[in-house]
């Protein structure tokens, strides 16, 4: 322990100010484009008509007739989407990492949706789910349906949510997969070989070797994905239109339609708070070795 510390101190001395200079551009970028707007948004959310401190924007957000629906839909989407994506991404990552024939091809195929924007993905899935869309054409052609079924029906909210879940799962699972693949590749082969020697089954290897060693990556993936799920917006607009609404959509509506930046900031701050709370939860629920007191 003592030698490591001495070594790191020596390294630090040798490097001098270089690390700070290298970090500076990203720090400035983060401060200007993230931290500052964030502070401003919080300020706006607590500003009255005359500019002083006021709870009015918060009150208007809570009193908005569309608030409850937006909050519950957003939470529902997060709760359904994140676990599904995690399980699917884990499976995909294991397939990629199994180094089967054509691993690279799998990686590219799985990562393809990463290059598609949220709105474009929403429009693609709309053309699949719409009444005269691909899915209905397929189902009627093979004889499963007599006539097209309306999936995007405002009277069937559960079905609407499911279509959004499918679209989101397709669009954003690959980012989770990429993080998990990176984590998997960091696991030394020796551990897995040792497990083999002791006659561990495939499931036992995943359960007792891979998952524990992958914890830091899992944590990062879950945090990132949950934060992104709270911001879901364009997919919902493309698939459900005005039939359902989410928090990010309401922030947009208040800013763009109702031209009230303060209530929009209140919505944005709520999304931020939810993201921070979920991050803290993940950090507490999935402690890694480094977090534990030695």
């Amino acid at each position: 322990m003592a030698t490591t510390t001495a070594a790191s101190v020596a390294t630090r001395r040798r490097l001098g100010w270089a690390p700070y200079a290298l970090l500076a551009p990203s720090l400035v970028y983060l401060a200007v484009f993230f931290a500052l707007p964030m502070v401003n948004a919080f300020g706006l959310a607590f500003q009255g008509d005359e500019g002083g401190y006021s709870l009015e924007p918060i009150r208007r957000m809570l009193g908005d007739e569309r608030f409850a629906k937006a909050l519950t839909t957003t939470l529902l989407l997060v709760v359904i989407i994140v676990p599904i994506q995690f399980v699917v991404a884990m499976g995909m990552a294991l397939v990629v990492n199994a180094r089967l024939k054509g691993t690279d091809l799998w990686l590219y195929v799985f990562a393809l949706p990463l290059g598609v924007s949220e709105l474009a993905a929403g429009i693609v899935w709309f053309s699949i789910f719409t009444e005269q869309g691909w899915l209905n054409s397929l189902l009627t052609q093979v004889g499963i349906l007599d006539r097209p079924f309306i999936f995007l029906d405002y009277q069937r909210p559960t079905l609407l949510i499911l279509t959004i879940v499918v679209a989101e799962a397709w669009r954003a699972t690959s980012i989770v997969m990429i993080i998990l693949v990176a984590g998997l590749q960091g696991i030394p082969r020796d551990y897995l070989e040792a497990a083999d020697v002791f006659g561990a089954t495939a499931w036992q290897r995943v359960r007792h070797v891979i998952l524990p060693l992958l914890k830091p990556s899992i944590r990062v993936a879950l945090i990132l994905r949950t934060i992104l799920a709270f911001q879901v917006f364009a997919t919902v607009i493309a698939l459900a239109g005005s039939a359902t609404n989410v928090l990010a959509g309401e922030a947009y509506r208040w800013y763009q339609n109702l031209r009230d930046a303060r209530v929009a900031a209140a919505y944005a701050s709520l999304i931020l708070i939810l993201s921070v709370v979920s991050t803290i939860l993940f950090l507490l629920l999935l402690p890694t070795e480094e977090d534990r007191p030695t």
């Binding site: 569309r66 009444e131 309306i150 995007l152 005005s242 039939a243 339609n257 031209r259």
Partner: protein, 451 residues
């Protein structure tokens, strides 16, 4: 902005770009303000390009047509920028506040320009109106262009409207005694019922998606047709009857309607057989297969045939950098040759009293022109204006109609109760900008009072 495609992501990035432009503009203004050679810069500008911003022709494809087919023939380079109504107004107001502007000509609907005119931010165009009197503008439009004052604040540029379009197979199923060219609201519902009985699906369609223009259907079509007014009869018993009708019609509408923005797409796909929308949002269906679709006037209600002609005009901000250049550009754009190009390429018609359409118009555009002409010459017409004087509250105003629809039709709440609550919200919006009544409501001395 009606009829145009306010795509979510486009508008977000536009807004960001505008913010950057404004910031850059402010910096440049600051610098030129300090520079001793400010006069030189202005002279240089008069040789260079002109900036035109417009709430019309915002979609990329339409903006391109504006640049390549219309503005390319103007002797000078014109930087044409499509903007949403909010940022559009913000920019002109910001330039006025700075006392120095970069925008030479602005194009917008009557409602987009009215607020700026009311605050004396637009140049008096009496001389230009006089000079261009040979263009044959509709006298109503010239009156409108005065925005309630004595002198014209803009020059009429183009006109558009909303209308109905149906697939040919739907026309065969019209209820007996009904004629598409003189349909009543009751017959429209009966038509939907008949289609559902025969075909098994709900085939009426409304643009009730987030980006759809359903609010205009209420504001300019169903409300005036049922109540003869709008804000002043918002919560009246006739209005209740209108919402009752809407519930019935909605029961015949494709349940996917809550996701529709442009009705041309569901019409072409066959998801919807009969639809109402802005002409620019129906035109692709009519252009692609004019033999499969019919365009026809909106239905008539108990008080007549409510409809909105959308007048688009050209104005010059008082802060325009090159007044002569700006006037030249307006002369050029209102020239019959250019308005014919706009009709041919973009489907907006010349704002003239006599229909002046080019001979070689595509059949789809011709069909729309005829349906709109039938609408505006109907004996029973109740002409409305797009909301006037709402400034940055026009979307908030629209939102009241959308949420009323949500409450009464989608959530099936008690119509009277919903209307009572929404009437208060509507009044708050009107009060916040002190907007007087506009047609079809009777003139008001002060802020329009919701009734």
């Amino acid at each position: 902005m009606d009829g145009r495609r306010p795509e979510v992501l486009t508008s977000v990035s536009l807004t960001r770009r505008q913010a950057l432009q404004l910031a850059a503009g402010a910096t440049v203004l600051g610098l030129t303000g300090c520079a001793p050679s400010a006069r030189e810069a202005t002279e240089e500008q008069s040789q260079g390009s002109l900036v035109m911003i417009s709430t019309q022709f915002q979609p990329v494809a339409e903006g391109e047509k504006m640049r390549s087919a219309v503005l390319a023939g103007f002797g000078r380079k014109v930087e044409f920028l499509g903007e949403e109504q909010g940022p559009f107004e913000d920019r002109i107001r910001a330039e006025a506040q700075a006392g120095k502007g970069s925008v030479a000509v602005i194009g917008g609907q009557h409602g987009d320009l009215a607020g700026l005119a009311a605050d004396q931010l637009l140049t008096d165009l009496s001389d230009l109106t006089q000079e261009l009197s040979g263009r044959g503008f509709h006298p109503d439009y010239l009156e409108l262009a005065k925005v309630g004052g004595d002198t014209p604040a803009y020059i009429p540029w183009a006109q558009a409207s909303y209308l109905m379009t149906a697939r040919k197979e739907a026309v065969d199923l019209l209820p007996s005694g009904a004629d598409v060219n003189s349909l009543t609201y009751e017959q429209l519902t009966a038509w939907g019922q008949r289609i559902q009985q025969q075909e098994g699906s709900r085939r009426l369609g409304f643009p009730a998606g987030e980006m759809g223009l359903l609010n205009r259907f209420f504001q300019g079509y169903s409300y005036p047709s049922f109540t003869g007014a709008l804000n002043t009869r918002f919560a009246s018993s006739e209005a209740e009857a209108m919402w009752e009708w809407m519930r019935g019609a909605w029961a015949q509408a494709n349940p996917q309607s809550t996701g529709y923005a442009f009705m041309q797409e569901p019409l072409q796909a066959g998801e919807v057989w009969v639809a109402w929308d802005h002409q620019a949002r129906l035109i692709e269906a009519l252009k692609a297969s004019p033999d499969d679709f019919v365009a026809f006037p909106a239905p008539t209600g108990p008080k007549g045939l409510g409809f909105i002609p959308v007048l688009t005009g050209l104005a010059i901000p008082k802060t325009a950098p090159d007044m002569d250049g700006a006037k030249d550009l307006i002369r050029y754009l209102t020239d019959p040759k250019q308005t014919a190009t706009v009709a041919r390429e973009l489907g907006f018609f010349p704002p003239t009293a006599q229909q002046q359409l080019p001979e070689d118009l595509e059949p789809g555009i011709r069909a729309e022109a005829d349906a709109i002409a039938a609408q505006s010459t109907s004996q029973a017409k109740v002409t409305s204006l797009l909301p006037v004087g709402l400034r940055d509250k026009s979307n908030a105003y629209n939102d009241v109609f959308r949420t009323t629809f949500d409450g009464i039709v989608l959530k099936r709440r008690d119509a009277r109760q919903v209307l009572a609550g929404k009437a208060k919200e509507l009044q708050e919006v009107l009060d916040s900008v002190k907007a007087p009544c506009w047609r079809p409501d009777p003139e008001s001395s002060g802020t329009c009072q919701v009734g």
